[in-house]
C-alpha cells in the first residue's frame, strides 16, 4: 500500500508553500480584491519562474514533463492561500484541453507559451446564468469563424487564447465542438464583469467572425469538455482541500484567541464540534482527492467516477469550512477588513466553476449505473 505522494512530490509541495507563504499572504490577495487587477502579477510570474505552470506539460512543448500528481500538490498550496492567479484557467483547462485534443500544430503553437507563462489561456463555456450544455450553447462556429457571447469567462480579460464551446450544427450531444481562439484579434471584444470573488478576474467576451480552429473532432466537443472537466475537477479538489484546511485553521486560531463569558470560545462544545465537523469533511475530501489524483495520473478508466467523488467531497468540505469560519469569528468575520471572506468567496467560486455539486452528483450516479448493471 503506497497511497501517498512521493518524497519528491512532497518537496515540490513544500517549495510551493514556502513561495506562497512569502509572496501571497492575505494582504497580497487583498490588493487584488481592492483594485481593478484581474490577478496578482508578481505571484503569477513567480509561479511561472518556478516552473509550476509547465509542470505537467511535456518537455517537447517546453514543460517539465512531470505529471498530474505534481500539479495536485501545487494546487493544494494555491488553494490554501486563495491565490489570485490564472493557474486553473491557463493550466487545468486550456493546457489540458490542448494536450488532450490538440493537433500537433495547435500544441506547438500554444503549449510552450502556456508552459512558460508568457501567455494566459482559458476555457469559455458558459453563456450567462445557466449551466452550459449542448442545448443552450448559442455561440456558433462555422467556416472557421466564431460568433457569440461568453459570460463569465475566467481570466477572460488577460488571456491570450481561449478554448471555446461552440455549436457546430450536429444533433444532441454532437451539437457542440471545442475551438481554439486567439483572443488578441480585433474581432474579439471583452470587458471585465463583477463577480462574488473579485480576487479572480472574469470577463464577458464577444466574438464577431473571429478566426478560430477546431480542437479535436467536430461534434465531439461535449465529450472532450467533460474529460477536461474531470481532470480539472481533481485539481480543483486539491485547491478546495487546501482552502478547507486554511479556513479550519483560521477558525481554530480565532477560537483560541477569543474569550467570551470568561473563557476561550474554543472550549465550548458548540464551537469544538463545528471544528471537528470541518476536520471530518476535510479528511474525507482529502482521501477522495488522493484517489482522484491516482486515477488521473494513471489515466484510469474510472476517472469520471473518481473525479466526481473528489469534487463533490471537496466542494462540501470547503463550503462548510468557509461559511462556518465566518460564523466562528462572529461579527468581525463579516467585516471587509477580516480575512474569512477570501475563503467564503473562493469556496463558492470553485463550487460553481466546473458546474454545481448537483450536476456532479448526477454525473457520479450515471457512472454507478454503468458500472453496476444489476
Amino acid at each position: 500500500m503506497n497511497f501517498d505522494f512521493s518524497d519528491d512530490q512532497k518537496m515540490l509541495k513544500d517549495q510551493a508553500r514556502k513561495f506562497l507563504e512569502d509572496k501571497c499572504s492575505y494582504a497580497d490577495v487583498r490588493t487584488v480584491l481592492e483594485s481593478d487587477a484581474s490577478h496578482h502579477d508578481d505571484v503569477w510570474q513567480g509561479l511561472c519562474d518556478l516552473g509550476f505552470t509547465g509542470a505537467a506539460i511535456p518537455e517537447e512543448y517546453g514543460g517539465l514533463g512531470l505529471g498530474a500528481l505534481e500539479l495536485c500538490v501545487v494546487a493544494e498550496e494555491l488553494g490554501r492561500c486563495a491565490a489570485p492567479v490564472p493557474f486553473s484557467s491557463s493550466i487545468y483547462m486550456a493546457a489540458e484541453a490542448l494536450k488532450l485534443g490538440g493537433s500537433e500544430a495547435l500544441k506547438q503553437a500554444w503549449l510552450p507559451k502556456l508552459a512558460s507563462g508568457e501567455i494566459i489561456g482559458t476555457l469559455a463555456a458558459a453563456e450567462g446564468p445557466a449551466a452550459p450544455s449542448p442545448r443552450n450553447t448559442k455561440t456558433t462556429f462555422a467556416n472557421g469563424k466564431l460568433n457569440g457571447r461568453k459570460l463569465p469567462v475566467p481570466d477572460g480579460e488577460t488571456a491570450s487564447v481561449a478554448i471555446v464551446l461552440a455549436n457546430t450544427g450536429g444533433a444532441g450531444e454532437q451539437a457542440v465542438s471545442l475551438v481554439v481562439v486567439d483572443l488578441t484579434q480585433s474581432s474579439v471584444t471583452r470587458s471585465s464583469v463583477e463577480t462574488i470573488d473579485p480576487t479572480r478576474g472574469h470577463a464577458e467576451i464577444n466574438f464577431e467572425d473571429a478566426d478560430a480552429t477546431l480542437l479535436g473532432v467536430a461534434g465531439e466537443g461535449w465529450a472532450l469538455m467533460k474529460r477536461v472537466e474531470a481532470g480539472a475537477a481533481v485539481l480543483v479538489a486539491f485547491e478546495q482541500v487546501g482552502g478547507t484546511e486554511a479556513a479550519l485553521h483560521m477558525a481554530k486560531d480565532y477560537s483560541l484567541d477569543r474569550y467570551a463569558f470568561g473563557r476561550q470560545i474554543g472550549s465550548y462544545q458548540a464551537i469544538k464540534h463545528k471544528l471537528a465537523d470541518m476536520y471530518v469533511k476535510l479528511e474525507l475530501a482529502r482521501s477522495n482527492a488522493y484517489y482522484g489524483a491516482m486515477v488521473l495520473a494513471q489515466e484510469g478508466a474510472d476517472l469520471e467516477l473518481a473525479a466526481a467523488s473528489a469534487r463533490i467531497s471537496a466542494t462540501e468540505a470547503y463550503r462548510f469550512a468557509a461559511q462556518e469560519c465566518i460564523q466562528v469569528h462572529g461579527g468581525i468575520g463579516f467585516t471587509w477588513e477580516a480575512n474569512p471572506q477570501f475563503h467564503y468567496r473562493r469556496s463558492k467560486l470553485l463550487a460553481l466553476s466546473l458546474g454545481s455539486a448537483s450536476r456532479w452528483k448526477n454525473r457520479l450516479v450515471a457512472e454507478l449505473e454503468k458500472s453496476n448493471v444489476a
Binding site: N2, I271, L275, E283, M294, I312, K361, V365
Partner: protein, 412 residues
C-alpha cells in the same frame, strides 16, 4: 502512488490466503449482507471456538502479539492484510474481539507473568472468553463517574453494584472490572481495577433487549462478590490508569460499520417504482446516493492512507479518528432513506416482504445504538477537537471535588 503490496506484504497475503482457502469457506458475496445465520448463539459460539483454536494454532489469531504469548510477533500491516483476506471468507465473528482486543492487552500490561501464563493463551485459543465491565447506569460517556464499590476484607475485596452494556457477559468466562475503592477523593483517584471469574457467586447477569430486538448486551449485578487481592491490576486507587490501557485499545477493537450501503441503495432504487418512474431516476434519490457513495469512498481511502503509514512503518495520522463519526449517522440515515423509498411499505420489517430481507429496516434500528456504543458521536467530536485540533477541554466542575460531594442524578 498505488495500492500495491510491497513484496513482503504480497508474500504474507498469499500465505494467509492459502491458509484461509485450505481451512475456511469462501464467502458467498452474492447475498452476503442479507444472509443472517439462523443458528443459536450457543451453536455459533461452539463453531467460533473451534475456528479460533485453528486460527491461533496457525499464528493468525494475534499477529502483532509477541511470540511468548502465542502471537506471531508480526506487524500491524500484516494484521490488516490478514483481516482483509479473512473478510472474503465465511468465518465466525463477534465473540473474541473485546477479550483479545481490550481485556487481554490490559492483562498483558498489568497482570503478573504467572497470571499471563495462565490466562493469555486460553483466551487466544478461544477456550476462555472475556468481557469488559466498565459502563454503569450512571456512568456512560463519563465512565469515571462509576459507583460500583469495592471494600477490602482481609486478602479479598467485596464488590457491590451494577454494570451495564456488558457485551457477551452471558457467555463469558472472565471479565475485567473497574470499581470505586474510595469515594472521598476526586473521582479519577478513587478507582481500583480487577479481573474476575464470571462464575463467582453473587454475580447475576440479565440480558438487555435492544430496540432492534437483539440482546447482545447485559446488565451485570454484583452482590457481595468476593475477589482475591491477587486479582487486582495496578495499585489501589490507580484503576483509572489501568482503564486507560483498555480504552486506548477500544478504538482499535470497535471495527468499522458494516451493513447495507450505497450498493444496496442503488439496487433498491433500481428495483423500486415511484409515482414518476424508477426511483433511480429521481433527482433527490440520485443526490443522496452520490453523497453516501462519496462518504463511503472517503472512509475507504482514509483507511488506505492509514495503511500506507503502517506499511512504511510510520505512526498513522489522526485521520482514522473520523471513521465512526461518519459511518454511524450514515448507516442510520441511509437506512431511513431507503425505507422512505419504499413508501408506506417501508414500515414492514418482514424478511420475506421487505427488500433484502429487511436489511434497511434492521440497520435503521441498529444504527441508533451504533452511534452510541464505543464513544458517542458527541464524545468522538470532543476527542477530535481536543486531541487532533488541540482545543481546550470543557471547564470541569468534577475534577478536584471528592466523588461523594459531586452533584449526580440522586443528589442534585
Amino acid at each position: 502512488m498505488d495500492f500495491n503490496d510491497t513484496p513482503e506484504e504480497a508474500k504474507f497475503r498469499s500465505e494467509a490466503r492459502e491458509w484461509l482457502t485450505a481451512n475456511a469457506r469462501q464467502r458467498d458475496t452474492s447475498n452476503a449482507k442479507a444472509s443472517v445465520s439462523n443458528k443459536s448463539e450457543a451453536e455459533r459460539l461452539v463453531r467460533a471456538k473451534q475456528w479460533q483454536a485453528l486460527k491461533a494454532e496457525a499464528g493468525y489469531a494475534a499477529i502483532t502479539w509477541p511470540t511468548e504469548y502465542g502471537g506471531r510477533g508480526g506487524t500491524s500491516i500484516q494484521s490488516v492484510i490478514y483481516s482483509q483476506e479473512e473478510a472474503n471468507f465465511d468465518v465466525p465473528r463477534g465473540f473474541f474481539e473485546i477479550g483479545l482486543g481490550m481485556c487481554i492487552p490490559t492483562m498483558m500490561k498489568w497482570a503478573t507473568p504467572e497470571q499471563n501464563e495462565r490466562y493469555v493463551k486460553p483466551a487466544l485459543f478461544g477456550e476462555e472468553v472475556w468481557c469488559q465491565l466498565f459502563s454503569e447506569p450512571a456512568a456512560g460517556s463519563d465512565v469515571a463517574g462509576l459507583r460500583t464499590k469495592c471494600e477490602r476484607d482481609g486478602d479479598d475485596w467485596i464488590i457491590n453494584g451494577q454494570k451495564v452494556w456488558t457485551s457477551g457477559a452471558h457467555f463469558c468466562d472472565y471479565g475485567i472490572i473497574v470499581t470505586r475503592s474510595d469515594p472521598t477523593v476526586p473521582k479519577h483517584k478513587g478507582l481500583t481495577f480487577f479481573f474476575l471469574d464470571m462464575k463467582t457467586p453473587g454475580i447475576e447477569i440479565r440480558p438487555i433487549k435492544q430496540i432492534s430486538g437483539g440482546a447482545g448486551f447485559n446488565e451485570v449485578f454484583f452482590n457481595d462478590v468476593r475477589v482475591p487481592d491477587s486479582q487486582r491490576l495496578g495499585d489501589v486507587g490507580e484503576g483509572w490508569k489501568v482503564s486507560l490501557t483498555t480504552l486506548m485499545n477500544e478504538r482499535l477493537a470497535i471495527g468499522g460499520g458494516s451493513g447495507v450501503d450505497h450498493e444496496e441503495l442503488l439496487k433498491l432504487a433500481r428495483e423500486t417504482e415511484l409515482e414518476e418512474g424508477p426511483a433511480i431516476k429521481d433527482s433527490n434519490v440520485r443526490e443522496k446516493l452520490a453523497d453516501w457513495y462519496v462518504q463511503s469512498q472517503g472512509l475507504k481511502y482514509t483507511k488506505f492512507r492509514t495503511l500506507t503509514a503502517l506499511s512504511k512503518g510510520q505512526v498513522p495520522g489522526a485521520e482514522s479518528s473520523i471513521g465512526k463519526i461518519v459511518s454511524g449517522p450514515k448507516m442510520q440515515d441511509l437506512g431511513s432513506f431507503a425505507m422512505d423509498i419504499q413508501g408506506q411499505g417501508g414500515i414492514l420489517q418482514d424478511g420475506d416482504e421487505s427488500p433484502m430481507g429487511a436489511a434497511f429496516q434492521n440497520q435503521w434500528l441498529g444504527a441508533a445504538g451504533y452511534r452510541i456504543a464505543g464513544g458517542t458521536d458527541e464524545i468522538l467530536r470532543n476527542i477530535v477537537s481536543e486531541q487532533v485540533l488541540g482545543l481546550p477541554q470543557d471547564i470541569r466542575v468534577d475534577k478536584k471535588v471528592p466523588f461523594n460531594e459531586l452533584a449526580s442524578n440522586s443528589k442534585k
